[in-house]
């Protein structure tokens, strides 16, 4: 989405003189403590173990792996995303807590890479969710991964890494691309529009034709049925 830079940034009014210092501290801590959730879809995953373990040691930069989307800050997508995988990636992304960042590793996330002609692969990741950083290469070496993460750290510290806001501001665009791929009845458990209202990020791009389509067939979410033991429903004959 090319219009990221055109969005007017509204500075929050701060009356406390220490607020700026505090904001700076928070941004610094955010950049120095990154929990990554690696969604290892393709061959790029093989470069992550050396980046984490004794050879390149990501932990000295404050980066450590986490296992659940609720805990993580970075969604690391390491390789090609098939259409079936992309659904899971979007579900995962929407469950992460903001501020959240997405990194696409390998050329497959940039333009489909060697799967360019595949009918089952989503070519460009940033059509479906805002991506903060691409690390190109087939596959990028651990040095490149760590250099990319350092670049992201600089972006977070300077406050530029705010693409998660873009998902709320231009939800209609992303949802439209998702619907094109998954069909018109595509729905995720997360209510993104309400979240956008909650964060005060509702803008012109949030609502549109595609969100109207979503609202037409949206089923209200219900809690899962509690069931004990191994009882299973009789399959319909």
């Amino acid at each position: 989405m090319g219009s990221i830079k055109q969005i007017p940034v509204v500075e929050a009014k701060r009356t406390n003189p220490l607020a700026r210092v505090f904001d700076d501290l928070v941004r610094f801590c955010r950049s120095r403590s990154l929990f990554i959730l690696h969604y290892c879809t393709g061959c790029g995953a093989i470069e992550l173990p050396p980046a984490m373990t004794s050879r390149f040691d990501m932990e000295r930069l404050g980066i450590q792996p986490m296992v659940s989307p609720r805990q993580a800050d970075i969604l690391l997508i390491t390789g090609y995303v098939s259409i079936k995988t992309l659904k899971r990636v979007i579900l995962t992304y929407e469950q992460m807590g903001s501020p959240k960042y997405v990194i696409g590793i390998c050329s497959c996330t940039v333009n489909g890479g060697m799967y360019w002609q595949s009918y089952a692969t989503a070519k460009k990741l940033d059509e479906y969710m805002p991506v903060d950083l691409y690390i190109a290469g087939c596959m990028p070496r651990p040095e490149a991964v760590i250099a990319g993460l350092q670049q992201l750290m600089d972006k977070i510290h300077s406050g530029e890494a705010s693409s998660w806001e873009d998902y709320y501001r231009n939800y209609d665009y992303y949802l439209g691309n998702q619907q094109k791929l998954f069909g018109e009845d595509w729905q995720t458990p997360t209510d993104v529009i309400s979240e956008a209202k909650h964060y005060d990020l509702l803008s012109e791009g949030t609502l549109g034709d595609h969100t109207r389509l979503l609202e037409q067939h949206q089923k209200p979410l219900e809690a899962l049925e509690m069931r004990l033991g191994h009882e299973q429903e009789e399959p319909a004959k």
């Binding site: 955010r30 404050g62 296992v67 805990q71």
Partner: protein, 299 residues
């Protein structure tokens, strides 16, 4: 002691515990890094993590009990800190005694069980079931050990227990007087920290960090703070029971960091036991050692 002094101590003791606890977390991660031939995190990493988690914009709450559970998990340890005498500050240790302290140390697990229960995540439920089973496993040797020490000192008052040990220097320490109880206590302490090989309820590769699976933002931040308190409470309790407390701060901190370094150095060399193996191990060896130790105390 006047009411103002007591109030200052009650505020200062958890704060000191938090700062020392953060350094203990750092030590734990540095030991892990050294054993794996890595450099390890920078000095202020635990602080960065906690500040970042508390400054996340999304706070996914699953309901009131979820919120209260985290407060209980932290509050139990904060209350426990006021009962642990440190050099120069006794807080309400005299009035609380060691039995109250043991009860308070159980509250975090119970609070976590309440909070995780409302998340309705199956991984969380499995995790908390395992955490409570683990508590059942290590509490029996721990209670035997604490009973033995209290019987030998003739009191359940932690300040008196420390005074008895400090009376004759190294020779009257709990660890020299009751070595079997000290070993059993060390194993029980290791299990209560929930580190490998007793890490059955975190198990990131199997049940996705168990109780922490639905926690993000401030909730996870609260648990990180809880971990600081947990490391501090466990090691300081061991120092008070067996290593004669601390005569000054240097002495005290040195002992508590050294005690904690033993389970930490063992932890990162081992994989994980299964739940039933943990129960069998904890109810066999530390209990046996503890009972023989108690028998020696009676004789």
């Amino acid at each position: 002691m006047s009411a103002t002094e007591l109030l200052i101590e009650l505020i200062l003791m958890p704060l000191v515990a938090f700062v020392v606890g953060m350094m203990m977390v750092l030590m734990m991660r540095r030991i892990a890094a050294k054993l794996q031939r890595r450099i390890g995190p920078p000095f202020f990493q635990p602080l960065y993590d906690i500040v970042k988690l508390h400054s996340k914009k999304t706070q996914v709450s699953h309901g009131l009990i979820h919120d209260i559970g985290i407060v209980m998990a932290m509050g139990g340890y904060i209350a426990a800190e006021t009962l642990l005498p440190v050099p120069g500050m006794n807080g309400i240790a005299e009035k609380g005694g060691i039995i109250t302290l043991l009860y308070l140390m159980m509250i975090p697990s119970l609070g976590l069980a309440l909070g995780v229960g409302q998340c309705a995540n199956p991984n969380g439920s499995i995790g908390i079931a395992r955490a409570l089973t683990a508590m059942l496993a290590y509490d029996i040797p721990l209670v035997i050990v604490v009973f033995g020490v209290a019987y030998a000192a003739g009191t359940t008052n932690l300040i008196d227990i420390i005074a008895v040990q400090q009376a004759g220097g190294f020779e009257t320490w709990g660890a020299t007087q009751m070595p079997l109880l000290a070993i059993a206590g060390l194993i029980a302490m290791h299990a209560s920290l929930g580190k490998q090989p007793f890490e059955i309820y975190i198990a990131p590769a199997e049940i996705a960090t168990g109780p922490m699976v639905e926690m993000g933002g401030k909730y996870l931040g609260g648990l990180f703070v809880m971990q600081c308190f947990q490391l501090y409470t466990t090691s300081v309790l061991y120092v008070c029971l067996f290593l004669g407390g601390g005569t000054n701060w240097f002495d005290f901190l040195l002992k508590s960091f050294l005690v904690l370094a033993i389970p930490m150095s063992i932890a990162y060399l081992f994989p994980r036991y299964r739940t039933e193996d943990l129960l069998r191990l904890m109810w066999k060896w530390p209990v046996m050692l503890g009972l023989i130790g108690v028998a020696f105390v009676f004789v």
